[in-house]
Every structure is written in structure tokens, then in C-alpha cells.
Symmetry: C2
Subunit: 235 residues, 2 copies
DNA sequence: CTGATTCGAGACTGGCAAGTACCGTATATG
DNA sequence: CATATACGGTACTTGCCAGTCTCGAATCAG
């Protein structure tokens, strides 16, 4: 994990709360963990807060984002956020890292019998929208990456790598059934589509739509693998 | 050009300077242009200031950059900067736009007789370093792009498009001498290398070195164009 | 040489946001 | 049902930085 210089010893809340105002009872010098009494922290809200953070991140970017925005969107108090994450940076890092969850499962991947069929079958409105949002989040976090190099891996693992992994699997299957050469540089090829989509969203601000993905499949991937590109269908 | 909401009518300095303190002489209500007397503005320093801005941008990003940093690096006063650009955003925009200058000239491009030879000849230490810095600058500006969509075009035109243009020219020549098919989707293919380099620098924080560029040339471009990839040379 | 202006340097101001403290209320534990 | 704690709000503190202003020195026009 990437280490951010925590302003204080994390884990324990930095926020003043009743525990710290009142609980001077024991002479214990080290203010150890919370006693077992009283109300417990409601961790079911964590995902909602993280999700709110991602939303804000996606449409204002890291530097434009404020903790108040996140709190408001999550209908939570600002102090609640600081009880769980010691700083804005930690919160964002956690939010991005959690995106690694709910990814494609291998069994749900298309299996049409041809590589092109599989690749085209991956172009679904839901998939495109999901990718759009993730790239938007990535854009919001780019500036932060230079400050914390470890974050680079987290972002890549959460956003781009899953896509590339799908492509690799589809190409490997194609190799196994002899559709494409065993010499093909699959690792590089699998990164093309995610990379170009990222560039298109981050810098060009143009949509990553069906047409664009098709132009990569038919203009780059299939030719590079020595596969025939079907003639465009007449309308 | 992208329009930023100028805090005031630009061109004329927003900074209070002697001209404005003293020159209430004429009854002219419109505070028109500077009179022809006195010291003239030293425009030879503009490029130095812009260059300083790009340096700071490259290693702190837009939001991390302060006007004081730029002024210090350029050994200029902060007021001097505000005399020339009405805001930080204008300064940065101008700096990025000025990168469009000093680009490759068409006649200096390699012409080895084969596409691969030309592409490989483009991999020079100087070229790689230059690209590295530009991508660093791009990373610093990404967050700003979402706020000013017009900036997207400026960044693309200044940083990525020149590279793509070179690739297009080299591929067009290859087409003309019959080395590659006339059907090849040159526009898309020319964007691959710049896009992947951008992704590699911005997100992966890995170097765009000779090895990486070669893997794109030999793993993607040449196969996609139906050209043979030379076997790796034994050491 | 004189006056208008720019320059670099740095003090000053105003606003914004991270992080903290406090409050009244809600809730789990015993 | 009593206590200790977390909760949503909100007011507060602090530090940073864009943008302005001031000043003494330099520079150019006439």
C-alpha cells in the first residue's frame, strides 16, 4: 500500500469526540483503544461514503474536492469522515483502492468462438458507462499520483488492469484454439484499448463509444494479430 | 483559444503600478493604453517566465504550483507576472500553448527506406527526454482540462498531435513506396505510440525508454501493417 | 537630466478549505 | 434504564495562496 505521511498516528480518530472529552477516568497514560462500551461505529456506511467520495472525485478532481462536499453527498458529518480516515488523502486512496472490488468475473466473459466476436460482445452500454466513470475518477487523481508514487499502482490495478486482464484472457483463448499465432505479444496488445480509451477521456474529452472501440479492434488489434477484418456492412 | 473568465479586462495590467498611481493627469475617463514615455516593458523575458512556469508545472502540477514559485524560478517579481498575464490560469494556458512552437520540421525526419528504420531512427535520447518532460507537463494540467474544455485541444495540439503527425508522415511515405497497404488505418495507428507513452508516464510512472518504444513498434505497429518483425539480435 | 515607467522584492489582504472542537441527539451495551 | 460512545450539524482555527499594493532601484524618451 502507498504510505502517506499521516498527520498523526492513524487508526485512532484524530477528531475530538466524547470519548476524549470525558474518558479521563482511568489513570492509563496510553489512551488505548476504545472501551467495549457504548455505541459502536456503524461500518455499514463506509461504502456509501467511499462511493460519495468517488462521485465527487469524478466531477471535481482531487484538488477541487472538499471534505464537506463528500460529507454532504453522503449525508454524513464531516467529523464522521475524520473518525474513519485520518486525512483527505487517505480517504481518496481508500476509495480508489476499493474500486478493485466488483470487477468482471471470468465465467461471465463472452465466448462466441471468434476473438472479434468476443471483443465486440464486450461493448455494452453498461460497460462503456462504467469505464467512463472510472476514467473520470482517474483524471481526478492524476495530479495526486506524482506526489505519492505508490498510488500509481493502486490506480492502475483498480481501473486499467482489469480491462487489460479481460483482453488478455480473450486473446489467450484465441491462441489456444489456434485462431491467432502463439507469437503474438499479447501483453502489449491487451493494453492498447485501455490506454487509448484513457487518453481519449483524459486529454481529448471525447466519448469512448462503440464506434471508437470498433476502430481499435478492426484498425489495430485484428490486423496486428493477422486476422481478417470484415467489410463494413451496407446499411 | 480557450476562454477563461478573465477577472478583469485583460491586456492592461491588473497590478497597481506607478502608471496608475500617478497618471491621473489627463481628464480622460477611459484609462487608455500606457503613454509613450518612460521605461518600456522588457518582452525578452516572457519566454523565460513561460519556461519557468512549464518547469514548475512539470514537477508540481497545476494545483501545486504557486505564482511565487514561478516568479522565483524566473528571478522575476510576482507583480511582473501579473502585469503580463491577468491570472494564473492565463499564464499556464499561454505557457502550454507556446510549446506548440519548436516542433519537428518535416525535412529533418529520418528517411532510411523502411518504415521500421524510420520509426527506430526517431528513438533518440534527446527525443525521449523531450517527450518525457512534455508528458510531465501534461500530467500537471490534466486536472485543469475538466474545468476548461477548450484547453483539451491546446494540450493535444501542443504535446501529442506533433508526435502523431510525425508517425502519420512516416507511414504515408511507406504507403507511397508500396511498403504497406493503402487500406491501413493510419490515423488510428499513428496515435497508438503517443497514447501509450502518455498512459505509461501519467499513470504507470514508468519510463518511456527505447525498449518500450521498440515493443510498440515490433509488437503492434509492424504486425498491424503486415510487415515482418526482425528476429531479436543475439548479443 | 528629468520624469514616466518597469523592474525585483516583499508586505499585505481576503477567501477558501483541512482539520478540530463542541453540541444535542441517537443507539448499543450492560 | 444508565452510561459511554457515535452520529449529523455547525462553528471555529489555522495555514496557504491568488491577487494587490508599496518601495527603492534601474531604464528609456525627450
Amino acid at each position: 500500500m502507498t504510505q502517506i505521511d499521516a498527520p498523526r498516528a492513524s487508526i485512532r480518530p484524530t477528531v475530538d469526540d466524547t470519548a476524549y472529552r470525558t474518558a479521563q477516568h482511568a489513570g492509563a497514560q496510553a489512551p488505548e483503544g476504545p472501551s467495549k462500551l457504548g455505541r459502536k461505529r456503524d461500518h455499514t456506511r463506509d461504502p456509501e461514503i467511499l462511493e460519495a467520495a468517488l462521485d465527487v472525485l469524478a466531477d471535481t478532481g482531487y484538488d477541487g474536492m472538499t471534505i464537506d462536499m463528500v460529507a454532504a453527498r453522503a449525508k454524513a458529518g464531516k467529523a464522521t469522515l475524520y473518525r474513519r480516515w485520518p486525512s483527505k488523502a487517505h480517504l481518496v486512496l481508500d476509495a480508489v483502492a476499493c474500486m478493485k472490488q466488483n470487477q468482471f468475473d471470468v465465467d461471465g466473459l463472452p465466448d462466441t468462438g471468434t476473438l472479434r466476436g468476443d471483443l465486440v460482445a464486450m461493448i455494452k452500454p453498461h460497460t462503456l458507462e462504467d469505464a467512463e466513470r472510472k476514467l473520470q475518477i482517474m483524471a481526478g487523481v492524476v495530479s495526486m499520483i506524482s506526489r505519492d508514487p505508490g498510488l500509481a499502482e493502486v490506480v492502475n490495478a483498480a481501473i486499467i488492469e482489469p480491462r487489460a486482464a479481460v483482453n488478455r484472457i480473450l486473446m489467450q483463448r484465441a491462441q489456444e484454439r489456434g485462431e491467432i499465432s502463439a507469437d503474438a505479444d499479447i501483453d502489449t496488445l491487451a493494453m492498447i484499448s485501455p490506454s487509448m480509451a484513457a487518453y481519449r477521456t483524459l486529454i481529448l474529452k471525447k466519448p469512448v463509444d462503440r464506434e471508437f472501440v470498433l476502430s481499435i479492434i478492426d484498425g489495430v488489434l485484428l490486423p496486428a494479430l493477422g486476422l481478417a477484418v470484415p467489410a463494413p456492412q451496407p446499411a
